[in-house]
């Protein structure tokens, strides 16, 4: 297992480096001078020249990339020229909020989706299975910002049960929790459907396998067969999906963050793209890329923990 972890983390580092290089080249190779964008139309050539030197844009491209990588490795993501604050500081301030939101959303979606999927598979083709299927497809189809808007209207505006906007006072956990419920509900709802469908499909497959018949022939209790012998195999594709899903959510939680006016990475990327703040875009995208790679690494490692064949393969 340790060997698997080392190899898998090594792979993750390689992916991040490649991603950083691609990201850096993308922003700097496309036409348009970042300095002119930052300084605006009224900048003089001298001002541009000065900024070029400051950003290192006058040096050869390869040198730029290498020095960028070096800085990234030291945790230095550059300066935001608008606010004159380090990008890393801005990004990491938002990161906590996003991580809490994403983990809460996926967390409740798993807690509900996995049992629903198992239930559907065990009682396949019954009325309740079809009901679960109908519900799953329904919540997958509705975009999360629609859920966000309507749940906001219903629970915050009309019923006034939960706060409408913001992330709550920092340090006051109950308040933060109350602020978390609606956004986490909006993001997680579609995932409940996804997870339920996926678990059902792989569960049905596993329940048909020979070793499950053998387990039944030994009279093992049905709950042991479903929740231990079958689920440990049936959960593997779901964990892979969640690995990429969590990574994507970190950057795409933007809808819920905007609707609920919560700070977060998604909102940060959105705002900085709107204001063409390249250093900030890069910093934020970079961090969310790293988190993406991190979450797939974690999910692969969980799979390796569950399945001995996976950990011996890589």
């Amino acid at each position: 297992m340790l060997f698997y972890l080392l190899k898998r983390v090594g792979l993750a580092v390689v992916i991040v480096v490649v991603a950083v290089v691609l990201l850096y080249s993308m922003i700097h190779v496309v036409p348009g001078d970042p300095a002119s964008v930052i300084l605006g139309p009224r900048a003089t050539p001298e001002m541009k020249q000065e900024l070029h030197e400051l950003m290192g844009l006058d040096r050869p491209f390869v040198v730029q990339v290498v020095s960028f990588l070096g800085k990234v490795a030291r945790g230095d993501l550059g300066m935001d020229f608008f606010s004159q604050r380090p990008v890393a500081q801005i990004v990491f301030k938002q990161l906590d909020e996003t991580l809490v939101l994403v983990l809460a959303s996926i967390g409740w979606a798993m807690l509900l989706g996995i049992p629903l999927g198992c239930y559907s598979a065990v009682f396949r083709n019954t009325f309740s299975d079809k009901l679960v299927g109908f519900f799953s497809i329904g919540v997958i189809a509705v975009p999360s910002f629609v859920v966000a808007l309507y749940s906001l209207l219903l629970f915050a505006v009309t019923l006034k049960w939960l706060p409408a906007i913001g992330a709550g006072e920092s340090g006051q956990y109950m308040d933060q929790l109350r602020h978390l419920i609606l956004p986490a509900f909006a993001i997680g709802l579609g995932w409940v459907g996804y997870i339920a469908r996926l678990v059902r499909a792989s569960m049905l497959e596993v329940l048909n396998e020979n070793h499950i018949r053998r387990a039944r022939a030994f009279g093992l209790p049905e709950h042991m067969i479903v929740f231990q012998y079958a689920l440990k195999l049936a959960i593997l594709p779901t964990i892979t999906l969640l690995g990429t899903g969590i990574g994507r959510l970190i950057s795409s939680a933007v809808f819920a963050e905007i609707v609920f006016a919560r700070p977060g990475i998604g909102k940060l990327i959105f705002d900085s793209v709107v204001s063409r703040n390249y250093p900030l875009v890069m910093g934020a995208v970079l961090v969310s890329t790293v988190l993406f790679v991190l979450s797939t690494t974690v999910s692969d490692s969980v799979n390796a923990m569950l399945d001995p064949r996976v950990r011996e393969r890589l």
């Binding site: 020979n210 070793h211 001995p308």
Partner: protein
């Protein structure tokens, strides 16, 4: 004779398929006396696996019992609730399935799986693992204690087969059902396992229903033999009767085709000419008539009667009528 452990009466099983109803088993009568070994032989596709999955009530979803009755230690298996069935499985009746490569769960250690099947026993986990490793050593897995921590894919096909046999024996059942348990093994190992089964069977006094393609294995291990052809039990009797005084033309052909009993070396292995009939459109009359060297007019028209040749020895054939 005392009441048999397993008593199958007039059993017919169909598979519902889009192409029509596959009449996989028809009017099977078979008894397994307690502490005896009954062998079942027949070509591939003749319904052996269907029979035993019906006995343990773990059938394919499209399988239907059309008629008949299965009694296990006097209880009617068709009438039992799922809970009562579970109480029988893995305690009074255990099973070795046909395919050893997929019979074990790939993500649990062998030790865990062998401990779990003893879940009813109120002994410590350590004790369960000890029983497991003892049984593994018995079936010839070297270094059994340390191999309990291995996963199924760490074992070869033959070893996995022996593990599934060990599991079935571990619960000390009244009836052990084994579906070609030695087919994946090489000849030497097969003989070893058969001797072992015989010894353990004598020790534990369990009955065995044993399926095999290998007639020499059947001859070595069994007390009684049933011969199946295309979903019917065409002949049954004691090992002596079947091997020395076979009544049914199919049994004779089977014995003549067995490579291990062929005395003179030939270039070609003998085979039975013709094909197995379709189980969807069954021929009229005797199921074997179009391959039978002795088929008469009556064989094409009317199903054969059961003829009793000796005690326990019955044959379904027209040609034996006196």
């Amino acid at each position: 004779m005392a009441e048999p452990v397993l008593d199958i009466r007039n059993l017919s099983v169909n598979y519902l398929t889009p192409r029509g109803t596959v009449k996989a088993l028809r009017r099977i009568n078979l008894q397994v006396p307690s502490a005896k070994v009954v062998g079942l032989v027949g070509e591939s596709g003749c319904g052996k696996s269907t029979l035993i999955s019906t006995v343990i009530r773990l059938m394919a979803e499209n399988a239907r019992v059309a008629a008949g009755e299965i009694r296990f230690t006097g209880k009617d298996m068709q009438q039992l609730s799922p809970r009562d069935l579970r109480a029988i499985r893995g305690r009074d009746m255990s099973m070795v399935f046909q395919d050893p490569m997929t019979a074990l769960n790939p993500v649990f250690t062998v030790g865990r799986q062998m401990a779990d099947i003893q879940y009813r026993d109120a002994v410590s986990r350590k004790e369960k693992l000890k029983r497991a490793s003892d049984m593994l050593s018995l079936v010839g897995i070297p270094d059994a204690v340390s191999r309990l921590d291995n996963y199924p894919h760490h074992f070869s096909g033959g070893m996995r087969q022996r593990i599934t046999i060990a599991m079935a024996l571990l619960v000390q059942p009244k009836l052990l059902i084994a579906d070609e348990p030695t087919t994946a093994l090489d000849a030497t190992l097969e003989v070893q396992i058969i001797r072992l089964l015989k010894a353990l069977q004598a020790d534990f006094q369990c009955a065995i229903l044993f399926i095999s393609h290998h007639l020499n294995v059947i001859a070595e291990l069994c007390d009684f033999v049933g011969v199946m052809y295309a979903g019917e039990l065409v002949e049954k009797g004691s090992v002596r009767d079947i091997f020395h005084r076979p009544g049914h033309p199919y049994t004779r052909a089977l014995l003549e085709c067995d490579p291990s009993v062929i005395a003179e070396p030939t270039r070609f292995l003998p085979t039975i000419p013709g094909e197995i009939p379709s189980l969807i459109d069954l021929p009229e009359g005797c199921i074997f008539h179009d391959r039978c060297p002795r088929a008469a007019q009556v064989c094409k028209k009317t199903p054969p009667p059961e003829v009793s040749l000796a005690e326990h020895h019955t044959v379904a054939c027209h040609c034996l009528e006196v």
